[in-house]
Symmetry: D2
Subunit: 135 residues, 4 copies
């Protein structure tokens, strides 16, 4: 099962080479993740409040295939790839909708930490919901 989020490349996303700067792909990974969590009735703020955990990234990766340009319509496709007792890994693909090209793909690995930034177990309820949404 996958979650989808679409956006238009913004002027500020571009650089002097005329394409979306490579760091901005990671911004849209995260925008998609935010919408995914809200689709589950949650936000990182609510998770923090309810469970006393945060989910900082421990690893980020992206492979770039096709340049994205100003005003391109991009669809992010996200899957929950792997869940361990303390971590969750999401996979992302960015597709150029007008040309049906795979522009980039990557992943984010996150670890559950308590409010003192100490690694901790993923709450069972959170892990359960994420597992239901795995690929």
């Amino acid at each position: 099962m996958s979650f989808k989020y679409a956006f238009r490349v913004r002027w500020v996303d571009t650089d002097v080479a005329g394409v979306m700067h490579y760091t901005n792909f990671f911004r849209y990974f995260e925008a998609c993740e935010q919408e995914f969590y809200r689709s589950l009735g949650a936000t990182h703020a609510k998770i923090r409040e309810k469970y006393g955990i945060m989910l900082p990234r421990v690893e980020a990766h992206c492979v770039y295939m096709v340049a994205c340009k100003y005003d391109d319509l991009i669809e992010v496709v996200m899957k929950v790839k792997e869940i361990t007792d303390k971590t969750v890994t999401y996979e992302f693909q960015l597709n150029k909708k007008e040309t049906n090209e795979l522009a980039a793909e990557g992943y984010l690995k996150c670890i559950a930490v308590d409010l003192n930034w100490k690694a901790t177990l993923l709450p069972t309820e959170v892990a359960g919901i994420l597992r239901e949404n795995m690929a």
Copy 2:
């Protein structure tokens, strides 16, 4: 007449004070402007190609009233405020939809320049379309 564009505050938009960083309001001014132009069937890329002009900012201003937080739903309301032979000025308001508060308001003044960055007249057609959309 006004144009509206809504967005959710992203994690990356926030800062250590827990609120949307003041520079990001300007990013959303511009996102709204981009959607406004596309609603008219145009983009800055098309305007550049068709008329040989760009519209860089010569002035930017924002007044901040209420802090915006992660995942807040914000509506940008944009109006074309003033058109001169070479410039166009847009006004923006950012409203927090959940609380119906005015979070910020400001403006962007842009000048028409040719591809050598020399100030030039706003193309009649562009000025006309913008004038039709004035407050």
Copy 3:
């Protein structure tokens, strides 16, 4: 009296028009402010801890004269312009060092708030130090 801070325009600062994006001038206003405070032996984090206040922006303004390009060496010149019982306003100029051109100028007005975001008096000690550094 003024405070100076220099930087090189980064690739990520540029946009498809080949120049520094207008929002990034405000990022460098703030970078300069940060270095200014550290030159006084302070940081916003220390001020928050010591006095229980933060200094969010209530107004931001910038006028753009000359485009800044990738790798340009830019000097920010900052002055404390005005202090009231609750606010401080800084003025900034951005100069292109290689060509000795004024690229942009603007200001930031900040208000003292307590940790509940309620407007409060600037601590006497902070106001005093800032006043000593006024233009």
Copy 4:
């Protein structure tokens, strides 16, 4: 042989969790790369002009160990890791200078493309200079 570049974490680099946002590590990878090239007497702009090539990223990776906070002094250590006929890969480490901790490490893989974004050979001269600076 390695190249070093130091910076202070900016307010805008932080997020509501109180730490540098994970995307900003990649911004500083690139800032270090820019300074590295200038230390060799080059910039991406000059390389583009002289050789007709650009060096977009085809892969980006970062592992995060220790959170970086506002105003932390961070040193980026960069090494040229691998050169092929068309690509160059840089390795980066981010060290927190005040605590002597490794905060993050990662790499960027870049491919030479001509001005039409077609993959091409790394110019011999560029490859030679990079090879001299390899680990």
